[in-house]
């Protein structure tokens, strides 16, 4: 009888170990793949380069390149008031209804809702109104990440 109970303890220990191991494996795989995506987004962020030209009227020409990413970028223009100029880079639009989610390169959710994104071919001049922060967004493995911002004004 004692032999049976000892055997059951061993089995229980094995089962418990397997369960815990499986749980951690699932977690670590998910976490790892998330980190891979975030690292890729950070890589894009590190390669971002932009120039703001001389304004014409109220518009500034902006040219954006990403030396770590050749693909299409997306831009979102967020206007701000002069009083918000000092903190423009931290501004986010109010979230609304919709499925578009924009993440920061740290994985933080910046926005969820419906956001009018402009498809941007790298190196093309784009005219930006004064007092606008331009979110530079890249699609990394299906997720939209804000890899940088250009504050104009």
């Amino acid at each position: 009888m004692e032999a049976v109970s000892s055997f059951l303890i061993v089995i229980a220990t094995v089962v418990l170990g397997l369960v815990v191991f499986s749980l951690f494996s699932v977690y670590s795989v998910a976490e790892y793949s998330r980190q891979v995506i975030l690292n890729e987004a950070r890589s894009y962020a590190e390669g971002l380069y932009y120039q703001v030209g001389t304004p014409a009227g109220d518009e500034y020409p902006v040219v954006i390149k990403d030396f770590n990413y050749n693909g299409t970028l997306y831009l979102y223009f967020l206007t701000f008031s002069p009083s918000e100029a000092s903190s423009a880079q931290y501004l986010t639009p109010p979230s609304g209804n919709g499925n578009t989610v924009i993440y920061s390169v740290t994985g933080q959710e910046l926005y969820q809702g419906q956001l009018p994104l402009i498809k941007y071919e790298q190196g093309t001049p784009v005219l930006v109104q004064n007092l606008t922060v331009v979110w530079v967004i890249a699609n990394v493995s299906g997720g939209l990440f804000r890899i940088g911002e250009v504050v104009v004004g």
Partner: protein, 516 residues
């Protein structure tokens, strides 16, 4: 009994085994947690570092390109002229300059166009690529394939400069604002921008040699420094006159030695010339740069006030041109032992342009300009000049036409500080003797004045009797009461010349007055 004992031994062994197995699983679980954790912790910085390293060469290349195009001595210049944008290659740039788009500014709007196919040509003797973008744009920007925006400089071909000028006689200039941006590869010992007071005037009004040290535009460099200094300031520029005004530079000297180092100069693209210099009590040299028209050096030009320029023109009378405006200029001084190089730019609408002077053959009258508008006077006036004649030192005769200029400002109620100067030539014939010259005053009266000619070894100074140059310093403007002028002393810079030309100006507010 024996069997029982054996069984008991076997039971303990199994228990021990299960505990070991359990521990192994615990270890396994720990590994399962730790390994991804370690990977997670390790991978982020490494990946980020790799990303930085990956982008670094491109970022560096883009930055380098900004420094190589349209900068001083850069291998590639960009000009916009007659509807074409010229990429002018003085040499091959380390970073290629490939255009992808053009930004064309016109009347407050900007147009973006794809880069047209260039035509290979030459520009001022250099290989160039011309892109036809069309006429009439106030500003043209070039977007390069590495993501830079570089703006083209306007180009004015030789001989096409406007020769129009407007004199502002008796007019008051508005107080000039000041904007300074500074860049230097060498830290000067002292750079001060204080335009509230003319340093020279400050010196003379206070009588203190130290007064100059903290007023006005002051650059101080000592030793053997290579200085690449860029600053901008608001000065008297008019929209109709893109040419540079006179620039003054003060250099410290060794006390008691008037010219320990004769600083020579190099023309920079022929734009500017060091036309004169003077010793200023307090241990300073004042170097004066003026535009160099027509390639003719302005020898012996001097101003008693140290701020003006005198130019000989075929007419007996002319006035200074004031160029009110707020066009900052940009200068870079390369000062080495025995060498000074000046670059001049002006800024318009936020953009820097090289001052297109030398090829433009500016009329001489344009370089006769007063500096007061750069020195922050509230009220500055101009006046017409009187011609008297030149004075031959050896024969003590008035010989020929000369030019003088005159300026002043209101010191107080009914009190004017006047300053005048002459286009002087004083020769080696001077020997310390005293000479008389006659000056006309208001066209009806001759005033007699005396000059004492120092020997050339005394640097050719001339003073009025009783005026000791060494102790009293440089001559200054005079106070003019109602109708009674006194004669200031003069300094002539070139002791190798043989005549002195003298003129006299009637006074503030009196214009168009001349004798013949």
């Amino acid at each position: 009994m024996t069997i029982v004992r054996t069984w008991r031994k076997s039971n303990r062994k199994d228990k021990g085994l299960s505990a070991v197995i359990g521990m192994l699983f615990v270890l396994l679980i720990m590994l399962a947690v730790l390994i991804p954790l370690v990977t997670y912790m390790e991978s982020s910085p490494t990946m980020q570092e790799q990303a930085i390293q990956q982008a670094q060469p491109y970022l560096q290349k883009a930055q380098e390109q900004l420094g190589e195009v349209n900068q001083q001595n850069s291998p590639v210049q960009i000009y916009y002229y007659d509807g074409d944008v010229y990429l002018v290659y003085a040499s091959t740039p380390p970073v290629p300059v490939n255009a992808s788009y053009f930004l064309l500014y016109n009347g407050g709007t900007v147009k973006i166009v794809m880069t047209p196919q260039p035509t290979k040509t030459t520009f001022n003797g250099y290989v160039a690529y011309a892109y036809q973008v069309g006429n009439g744009y106030s500003l043209v920007g070039l977007v390069t394939t590495v993501g830079n925006i570089i703006y083209a400089d306007p180009y004015t071909p030789p001989g096409s400069a406007s020769t129009s000028s407007t004199s502002v006689d008796g007019g008051a200039l508005p107080p000039l604002p000041l904007a300074v941006s500074l860049n230097s590869n060498t830290t000067p010992q002292e750079i001060k921008f204080n335009w509230n007071q003319n340093p020279i005037e400050g010196y003379f009004s206070s009588g203190s040699n130290n007064a100059i040290s903290n007023k006005g535009l002051l650059f101080t460099f000592t030793g053997n420094n290579w200085v690449n200094l860029t600053f901008s300031l608001f000065c008297g520029w008019g929209p109709y006159d893109p040419s540079p005004d006179t620039i003054y530079l003060l250099l410290p000297t060794t006390a008691g030695n008037p010219w320990p180092v004769m600083v020579t100069f190099n023309d920079v693209q022929g734009y500017w010339n060091l036309t004169t210099w003077r010793w200023v009590p307090g241990g300073w040299y004042m170097l004066i740069w003026t535009p160099q028209p027509g390639g003719q050096p302005i020898r012996g030009t001097y101003s008693s006030f140290g701020m003006f320029d005198v130019v000989k023109i075929p007419s007996y009378q002319y006035s200074w041109q004031f160029f009110p405006g707020t066009y900052p200029i940009k200068l870079a001084f390369h000062i080495t032992q025995g060498g000074v190089t000046v670059y001049a730019y002006y800024q318009d609408n936020g953009q820097w342009y090289p001052i297109p002077l030398p090829d433009q053959q500016l009329p001489q009258e344009l370089w006769n300009r007063i500096k007061s508008d750069c020195w922050g006077y509230g009220q500055v006036y101009s006046a017409w000049l009187n011609y008297i004649g030149s004075f031959d030192i050896a024969n003590q005769q008035i010989m020929e036409a000369f030019n003088v200029y005159y300026g002043g400002y209101e010191q107080g109620v009914n009190e004017w500080v006047t300053n005048f100067s002459l286009d002087g030539k004083l020769g080696g014939a001077s020997n310390g003797g005293q000479t008389t010259a006659l000056l006309d005053y208001y066209g009806s009266q001759w005033w007699q004045a005396y000059w004492h000619f120092y020997k050339p070894s005394d640097y050719g100074f001339i003073t009025v009797p009783g005026y000791n140059l060494t102790t009293d310093g440089m001559p200054i403007g005079i106070y003019q009461g109602p109708g009674y002028p006194t004669l200031p002393s003069f300094v002539v810079l070139d002791p190798g010349l043989s005549e002195i030309m003298v003129a006299w100006s009637p006074g503030i507010g009196v214009e168009n007055y001349a004798i013949s």
